[in-house]
Subunit: 415 residues, 2 copies
Amino acid sequence: MLYFKEMRYSKLFAKTLREAPKDEVSKNAKLLLKAGFIDKLMAGSYTLLPLGFRVKEKIEQIIREEMDATGANELLMPLLHPKGIWNETGRWDTAKEIMYQLKKDDKEFGLSFTHEEIVMDLIRKHATSPKDFPLKVYHFSTKFRHEARPKSGILRGREFLMKDLYSAHLTEEDMYKYYWEVADAYLKIFKRIGLEAKIVEASGGVFTKANSHEFQVLCEQGEDTVYYCDACDFAQNKEIFEDNVGDECKKCHKGKIMEAKAIEVGNIFPLGTMYAEKMGVAYGGNPIWFACYGIGPTRIIGTLAEIYGDEKGLNWPKSVAPYQVHLLTLNNQDETVAKKADAVYESLLAEGIEVLYDDRVETSTGAKFNDVDLIGLPIRLVVSPKTGDQIEWKDRANEKAELLDIEEVLKRLKS
Amino acid sequence: MLYFKEMRYSKLFAKTLREAPKDEVSKNAKLLLKAGFIDKLMAGSYTLLPLGFRVKEKIEQIIREEMDATGANELLMPLLHPKGIWNETGRWDTAKEIMYQLKKDDKEFGLSFTHEEIVMDLIRKHATSPKDFPLKVYHFSTKFRHEARPKSGILRGREFLMKDLYSAHLTEEDMYKYYWEVADAYLKIFKRIGLEAKIVEASGGVFTKANSHEFQVLCEQGEDTVYYCDACDFAQNKEIFEDNVGDECKKCHKGKIMEAKAIEVGNIFPLGTMYAEKMGVAYGGNPIWFACYGIGPTRIIGTLAEIYGDEKGLNWPKSVAPYQVHLLTLNNQDETVAKKADAVYESLLAEGIEVLYDDRVETSTGAKFNDVDLIGLPIRLVVSPKTGDQIEWKDRANEKAELLDIEEVLKRLKS
């Protein structure tokens, strides 16, 4: 739980940069680096600086609430896995290209890029009765996945954060019942985060003949291509789409098929019984049904930067903004102004409102305004010699600024 | 933030086990495994199951609050590091024995067991003005440390959780000012968690001639040996202690020196200027002063199991118990009893009290009572045909049981 609701910008580690590093090509990395949300350790690996960390925490809390609401249990599984468990499904060899593997004292280990094998091992040890099903567990954890030349900022890294949920069932029917419940939960999550995601049919990969589903956000900078109907909810990814752009939709027979670039922000797989067969998890002679569900919090941060970022900077939806308000004081060498701004700051804190307070004294007005736009909190409040007893209110999303009394400011922020 | 305050035991993933796995020798691992708080993936590596995960979350939140109160900024640094950055301090080679290192596509990476190099890199990129100091950042993250034959359960693993805080200062004086502030914060943290920790002098290791300090909890099962005065706060570890057990204390000249086994639950290092010198971080020609501070949440879970565990099971301090109340219903084939227990459950939830509700129907009374003692929540409440309109209250810590009205139960729980 984020504990402190406020921060003086003078005390914040990692301020905005004048220039984004020249080696970054993606919009998300440029904006997030310049605004001080992330730092790059190496290609495909970033530190979440305090502002970025807060966004991550808010995204995770939204995901956690919706996962818990489906009856899932949160836990935390290890990242370094023994070779043996990956050998049981044959993936030690088949995943060699993307998995970091290492040897130490004659023992071999792999770094997790997913946790199916580990969950299946937990199930065979702990789900000893049919009453233990359906079984739903998830965790937030770091994933490692080798990329030779990562270039999409935090959309695709060597190291990233994932929420992965796994469910196990005695029947296929029960698996699909929960599968669609999670699909609904995912749509709720993305909506709360400020993203409009389409459910896109995709192939099931090597472990199931059934289709899996991706959650895609349309975005020109996306690495994926999706085909969708402009009238109904039909949507397929490139792998399985077999018609032509412009065709009539086969599902509703009304709309037309469109093509668009998109970012995959989540996916769900009805894996079926293959894992249980390979790892020997069965009840009454029948292998259990298994499904997995992923959402990447760091990728979501990148997607929000791509979708909402403009030429001035970032622009966070209220639900995941690191702070709600950017309070700004101009000409605060003037003691009266500084005192007034401090009083406004205190009033906001007393009401439990999350504030980033730019209390810097020697910074120019222009630089302060630029930083506000770059950091992109939902609301800008200004206290200056010109605002008198009032406060200037401006939303990040539009140009209109208004002068308001403190009472009106608090009322709006609490509504 | 833990979202759901309640759990029906029937829906909880991973119940208690009849027997602890035979290959475990440590008390903490035996109790935690048997009670369903952890699962063992391999030697030195454990999953935190839902109950264990909740304890971890509570411990972390206490640490977070006290770290934030010192003005530290929370962030999140990567776990997979490029070889180059570890070469700057020479630790790629000197730490080879304990660090997991790997090669992929001709690139070399190491898995972090600590983050000094990464923080120093952040400082040289982001702390561009003397005004940026003092600078205090921390994160909660996974650490990897090779152990050939781990045997202390979650007290010492190949993979474990750490809170590591780092501070940077322009002067030695400023470093020590914050160093002792953190020492105080640590004592507060351990006290809130239910541990009595001694500050024990230790050597500074390779990077500083100054002493460092360990936070040690006296415990027969501890791997460390400490020497302390039975009258004052003098305490040293084995490395630097030069007197004899039974001697008069050199500090207070009153007490006697005692020897005891202990578990190290935290440590703080005034690292000095060596990192800054090696990595080129200086202001006005002077290298910055650097210190680091660690606490291990998983190790704390193990310590609590060692200290508070008894022959019946675990016994959690209120501040970190996964739930406050274990509500139990006996003979709930009887519909009246089941209904009454459900009503008590609802009353507890309505008051925001965290409850684990054993609602199992076919489980024997004896098994239910054993599970309550094994899991070790602070308070046991029983609803049975014998309790009539009242509820039986018993603390885990003592034998006395009382019959109380629901109003009295709620009053006590909220006080």
